[in-house]
């Protein structure tokens, strides 16, 4: 057994977290390949580098807790327990996909696992997530609602409207700001005044800055926020500092004009969330999990590539319930 010191969570949980992070990374690498080989229509936004945020937060959740996700949403979906075969089917527009192929990469939802959907409007799900927190309370449940959003959503007024109401009404909502440092191709520092956490604190919402590359740190902060929500004490805000290894979207390959190559290399070499958890659970355990996950992903891709497209008649189905 690989030796590690001071493992902050039970080894079983740590390995489960490592496995999910590896699954996200392998999923995204294959999604990138599918795009580059022109097998995937449209575009996609990769979560590589940010795995510890989704996994750390979702590891603190129950299956019936809900999340809302973003255009960079594959990681959240996997972290909440989705089946990667059905995710690839969705990315490839196949009938068996989570949304019958009608949503695609930017709209994956997995209702059974509490994923209320990725959203292609920046900040667009802040209301939905807060409403899910509203219903949790109004219906007398103790489920909580997580709103994932990038730091780009800090520019959207909707976020502040709903944080105000969540604080007023003590709704069990956890606002998770994934600060990957770039609003598309613009440094967040160029467009963000003041301290990010101060924006939540202005509403009386407890806010903390978390190292988003440390899955255990994210998990611990999320666990505190979840407990607060379940107790009926209201919303919390986490700013998870993280980094997007790839471009804003798969086609964003020439990035030198907005960020230095050395910066990218430094984050990957010194702060990679998978390297860090390997330091805790041991490289051998990670290698074993990686091999297993990569096999699973390869099979899922193969499955999805051979899955049928929806029948043409499906186009008018589900316009209305």
């Amino acid at each position: 057994m690989a030796a590690t010191t001071d493992l902050p969570v039970a080894r079983e949980l740590a390995l489960a977290m490592a496995e999910r992070m590896l699954r996200i990374r392998a999923f995204e690498q294959q999604a990138n390949q599918l795009y580059l080989s022109a097998k995937m229509p449209g575009l996609t936004h990769l979560y590589i580098g940010e795995e510890a945020v989704a996994v750390g937060v979702c590891s603190a959740l129950r299956r019936d807790d809900t999340i809302t996700s973003t255009h960079r949403g594959h990681g959240h979906c996997i972290a909440k327990g989705a089946d990667v075969r059905l995710m690839y089917c969705e990315l490839l527009g196949r009938e068996e996909g989570y949304c019958c192929g009608k949503g695609g990469s930017m709209h994956i939802a997995d209702h059974a696992n509490g994923n209320l959907g990725a959203n292609a409007i920046v900040g667009g799900s802040a209301g939905i997530a807060t409403g899910a927190g509203f219903s949790a309370k109004a219906l007398g449940t103790d489920r909580v609602s997580v709103c994932f959003f990038g730091e780009g959503a800090l520019g959207q007024g909707l976020l502040y409207e709903v944080m105000n109401m969540a604080a007023l009404w003590k709704l069990p909502v956890i606002y998770v700001c994934e600060n990957n440092l770039y609003n598309e191709y613009t440094s967040y520092e160029d467009v963000t005044a003041g301290e990010i956490t101060a924006r939540a604190e202005a509403f009386g919402i407890p806010a903390e800055v978390v190292d988003g590359q440390d899955v255990f740190g994210v998990y611990e902060a999320a666990t505190r926020a979840v407990a607060r929500g379940r107790r009926g004490d209201g919303p919390s805000f986490l700013e998870c500092r993280t980094y997007r290894y790839q471009g804003h979207h798969v086609g964003d390959v020439d990035r030198a004009y907005y960020r230095a190559k050395t910066e990218e290399e430094e984050w990957q070499a010194t702060r990679d969330p998978i390297l860090r958890i390997a330091g805790h659970v041991g490289a051998a355990a990670i290698d074993e999990l990686r091999e297993q996950v990569e096999r699973e992903i390869a099979e899922a891709v193969e499955y999805a590539l051979n899955a049928p497209f929806p029948d043409a008649s499906e186009v008018t189905n589900h316009v209305y319930a």
Binding site: K102, I121, I128, A129, G131, A136, L139
Partner: protein
């Protein structure tokens, strides 16, 4: 039978009372129904339409919000897809512009985008209509904006009877619905049965039968059309008044049948005429009854100007019975000549 007659077992209610009663009954029937919006609780809205609901259901189900339309619409939507049936109150139809992302990009699409996995049983109630001297930002009739978006259902009840029945249908519907009430009609009285009833969306109502010309009218324009029909009777012209009641879904069959019967059609709608609901209604009868028409379909909408404040200016901008009569006589006159 026209819904304007008073059958046995009914009472007279105002449109406002009918809306209130519909929401009250649905809140009693289903504990997941709640009302959220600005000044909906103790104030009962500025028009007092929701007066008294908070006394029966409390502030947990009749919820005053900050002035944050996108925020509380989004919260309503989130609650809708997680097991509740919210009624989101947008005080003036003009404020729909503030919630368009939540309505158009989110609510309208969530069922489709999720491949049917998620449902959004959200009811939005708002207003339309000018001539209240409220000027350009509190007088618009923007129902065509939302009727254009697949995934939304849109109703424009004209009578207390229709308002109650359509509200009950909307609240029970698993789709996002938007109901527009003309601010000038809140005190309009009409018969409403004591017994429970629901009016399905997509069923037009012939408000007055006639032979010579069809007046297709929405919301308060139904009363404009009925006044015009009365005046036309004195001119020896028999006008039929057809109220689509819902724009989405639209009961094209009833409109086309009336058009085919009379051969002449005027569409009267308070939205701006250009690219408005009146254009879609006119197209529906032109396409469906072309070979039975004796004249081109005419439209009477609001003038293509921002709604002005000054009364003599404002009054010109909306369709009036006089304009309907003149247009109808023109259509009939062409036939006679």
């Amino acid at each position: 039978m026209s819904t304007l007659e008073v059958p046995v077992g009914t009472r007279e209610l105002t449109l406002s009372q009918a809306v209130n009663e519909a929401i009250r009954e649905e809140m009693r029937r289903d504990p997941t129904v709640f009302v959220i919006g600005e000044d909906v609780a103790e104030a009962g809205t500025p028009f007092k339409v929701l007066a008294g609901l908070v006394d029966e259901f409390g502030t947990a189900r009749v919820i005053d919000t900050p002035i944050s339309e996108p925020g509380f619409t989004g919260i309503g939507l989130g609650a809708a897809i997680t097991g509740m049936r919210p009624i989101v109150d947008i005080m003036f139809g003009d404020f729909l512009t503030l919630i368009m992302d939540q309505v158009v990009n989110q609510a309208a699409k969530i069922h489709y985008m999720s491949g049917g996995a998620l449902k959004a049983p959200l009811t939005v109630r708002t207003t339309l209509g000018a001539t209240r001297r409220s000027a350009a930002q509190h007088s618009q009739s923007l129902h065509a904006w939302v009727a254009h978006v697949p995934g939304l259902k849109v109703a424009l009840p004209a009578t207390p009877y229709d308002a109650k029945g359509l509200y009950k249908a909307a609240i029970r519907d698993d789709n996002p619905t938007i109901l527009f009430e003309d601010k000038m009609m809140f005190t309009q009285k009409g018969p409403v049965p004591e017994d429970e009833y629901v009016i399905p969306f997509g069923v037009a109502d012939v408000k007055r039968a006639g032979e010579d010309v069809t007046l297709i009218a929405t919301s308060s324009m139904v009363y404009v059309a009925l006044d015009a029909a009365k005046a036309l009777e004195d001119e020896g012209v028999s006008a039929e008044v057809v109220d689509p009641r819902t724009l989405v879904p639209l009961d094209r069959e009833t409109l086309v049948a009336s058009a085919a019967k009379t051969g002449r059609v005027i569409v009267i709608d308070e939205g701006h005429q250009s690219y408005g609901a009146s254009a879609e209604l006119a197209a529906a009868v032109s396409e469906g009854a072309f070979w039975s028409l004796d004249a081109p379909v005419r439209r009477l909408g609001a003038m293509d100007v921002p709604v002005p404040f000054s009364p003599p200016l404002e009054d010109q901008t909306v369709p009036t019975p006089e304009r309907v009569v003149a247009t109808a006589l023109e259509l009939v006159g062409k036939k006679r000549s």
